[in-house]
Symmetry: C2
Subunit: 450 residues, 2 copies
């Protein structure tokens, strides 16, 4: 019987383990989890910080008992520190000391670690001072402990997904928030025209936005923390949260001689195999095959981690499943706005001749009460006519998150923009239009660029 | 210059005309419209009857001026009564008398007419008595005139799409409603398990439902209208609304010698060509190519009419566009419930070995407040594994209407149920799950039937 060892208790690791037991009910994979929080939803942390999810235990996708019932054996609070690929052992440490765990097939799902930018003072200050990074449940507890001391003001460094979700969480707790972003716009994963809509939503909720500003220093003063940066930026605050992105955690994999790929992530093929026999890897620690680009990128997303974990689990049992590729589909809710994207933006569409056209279309027939505009930016290849990408911004109740999925399904099948209007999409006046906004935007692209 | 004549001012006719002028800006198609309401949203009528759309003029997708600016010439209140395909003329009547209009290419978009079931008294009673059929704007005005007399009770005959929307409209006006349906369930376009959820929603809004009941007779009595039927059904009411479906309006086409096809609808090929040279037809008056069945069905839908109209318009100019086929995708809102379907149900899946599996999945992560269940029924082909259909019921805010679109896009591309989980769909805890409900349901199908 195959001994499957999985390192990591987040999306990729859990998915891999569950898939193994699903396909081979006599195999109980052993999961080694560095902390005590297996299968917790990292994506849910902002909603516990905001107070919307009052009990942090709710953030577990599955309880420990659920996981054990689903066929997984767990070693919690146990850190994997080295792999010997010849002996097929992993050295782990815990409060029991050091041990060697034997495996036939190993799945590495060590995830990512937050980037610690070169800000003076960041390494000297910590949660006790009100200075936080955020990635794990322990980081979360540290932050909520700080917030329980009722701070009045916060500086959030980083205007990406997590930064914006945390801005909302802090505003929900009625804390004054200054958002500092190095780039000229917030949410630089979408085009500036859409980033501007996000900034409007933030300002409508009294967020002080400082774009184009690089934070240089955090100091502790008698009047609280002082954050200073480029363009004369200076702000006093009770809390500073630094959330500027993540990098792959490859420390364990490197002990096994596993090769690294794009952006220092673990190099895997589409079967999630590393270069080392018997070692698979999946999730935020690996580079990811991009379906449109036909090459690997670093694009850490929970959805992808789930898919890759299943592929790794299946192949660890000798299967030949291939990850079909990411399109980078993602959605973010910020206050009452939903921002979604899939596929490529102009500057990302290497090898294509991208043209992007923006359209504003109602989420449902204007005559029915409550219609709201959706801003859609469609990117197509001017040479082939192929749909390359779509970005959407609209009200959180305007189904922007599931409208982007139609584009994702279209790109998955290499559809031309001109053919989107052929899709038989649903319509009723309170919920859509005879040609849905998704199709109206594609038709506009064809008229202007096709 | 091609003289394009279009008969019909609803979805198919307008789309055809607009497409002609879009492709050939020097051609101004002439539209002959039987009433004075071109490009009105038939689908929007229930929301005017309910009072939610207070001004009926809002129901126009475009005003007359919009249409003329978009390159259409209009002849309103003008009825086309005969086509001479050899002379290429159409005889029309209006208050100007009778005329012959010349065409090079003719598009017939005469739509459908409501079915008048064999109910005793139905032909003798009318709007003045409070007995209504409903299809046109004039029907709508007659009904709202009746409702303005503040009736207290109504019987709706027919529990399909329009019937249910009208039940909601009447309840919104605080009228007691009895819904009578011949079949054993309301909304027989979805499986009984889902029809039961719809019935629950109706009952929660105090609708008296009588299924399995055939109405035999409507009488006028001193105490109002009396409706009686099978199983001893008898009900007094101030208003009776008969909405039991539609049949294609082919009277004009038949004068041209146009052949009829499925269910008596005009037979067209996928280019929307009839058998008569120079005559195209589109919309509710034609039979429709079903993409999965690979054959023609009668499936009148506004979305389809728009698509077919564009194809007809393009081909009337000598194009070679093909209608890519309908999947029967549709969605209905009834009170707070949305009910959507695409593709085939078991009994419709002729030529396949259909298996249907039901799953209940949350619309977003359960830990985030406000999560609601979606009931999903996935139909797949047990032989090929192909996705054949999906039916969904959930809260109107649970994006059921755009989740069905993902399935529609998948079926369009002949996806296997097992591959749905590979789609890169969007996720954030307030709006979805790492594997969306759409994917969870597909995975459940694979586990049980794949």
């Amino acid at each position: 019987m195959t001994r499957v060892l999985v390192i990591g208790g987040s999306d990729a690791g859990i998915s891999a383990g569950l898939r193994v037991h699903e396909l081979a009910p006599d195999v109980r994979p052993l999961l080694v989890v560095a902390d005590g929080y297996p299968n917790f939803s990292i994506c849910g942390i902002p909603y516990h910080v905001s107070g919307e999810v009052s009990d942090w235990r709710s953030l577990a996708h599955r309880t420990r008992a659920d996981l054990e019932n689903a066929g997984l054996d767990l070693r919690l609070n146990t850190r994997a520190v080295a792999v010997d690929p010849d002996a097929r052992t992993v050295t782990v440490t815990s409060d029991r000391g050091q041990e060697q765990l034997v495996y036939d097939q190993l799945v590495i799902g060590t995830g990512a670690v937050p980037i610690r930018p070169p800000i003076e003072g960041l390494n000297q200050l910590g949660p006790a001072d009100g200075v936080h990074l955020l990635h794990t449940m322990d980081d979360t507890f540290a932050l909520t402990a700080t917030l329980d001391r009722s701070p009045r003001s916060a500086v959030v460094v980083g205007g990406g997904y997590i930064g914006l979700e945390m801005v909302e969480a802090l505003r929900t707790r009625d804390i004054d928030v200054t958002l500092v972003e190095r780039l000229p716009q917030v949410l630089s994963t979408v085009d500036p025209e859409l980033g501007a809509l996000v900034a409007d939503e933030l300002r409508a909720h009294d967020v002080d936005i400082r774009t184009g500003t690089l934070v240089h220093r955090i100091e502790r003063t008698t009047a609280g923390l002082k954050v200073s940066g480029s363009n004369g930026f200076e702000k006093r605050a009770d809390v500073v949260l630094v959330v500027v992105g993540v990098r792959p955690d490859t420390a364990l994999a490197e002990t096994a001689g596993v090769k690294l790929g794009v952006r220092g992530a673990i190099a895997v093929d589409r079967g999630m195999r590393t270069n080392v026999d018997g070692i698979f890897a999946a999730g935020d620690c690996v580079h990811t095959y991009h379906r449109l680009l036909g090459q690997d990128v670093y694009l850490p997303l929970g959805t992808t981690a789930h898919k890759q974990g299943r592929v790794a689990g299946e192949n660890a049992l000798g299967g030949s499943r291939e990850f079909t590729g990411s399109l980078g589909t993602q959605v973010l809710k910020v206050f009452d706005l939903a921002i979604a994207r899939t596929g490529l933006r102009d500057h990302e569409a290497v090898g294509f001749r991208p043209v992007t056209v923006e359209t504003v279309a109602d989420d449902h027939k204007a005559y029915y009460p409550g219609a709201r505009p959706i801003h859609l930016r469609i990117t197509g290849d001017a040479d082939s006519g192929r749909l390359l990408g779509a970005q959407l911004v609209g009200h959180r109740d305007s189904a922007v998150h599931k409208r982007v999925d139609t584009y994702a399904a279209a790109i998955h099948h290499a559809m031309a923009v001109a053919d989107i209007e052929d899709l038989d999409l649903s319509y009723t006046p309170p919920l859509g239009s005879p040609f849905d906004a998704v199709q109206t935007a594609a038709q506009a692209w064809v008229r202007q660029a096709g």
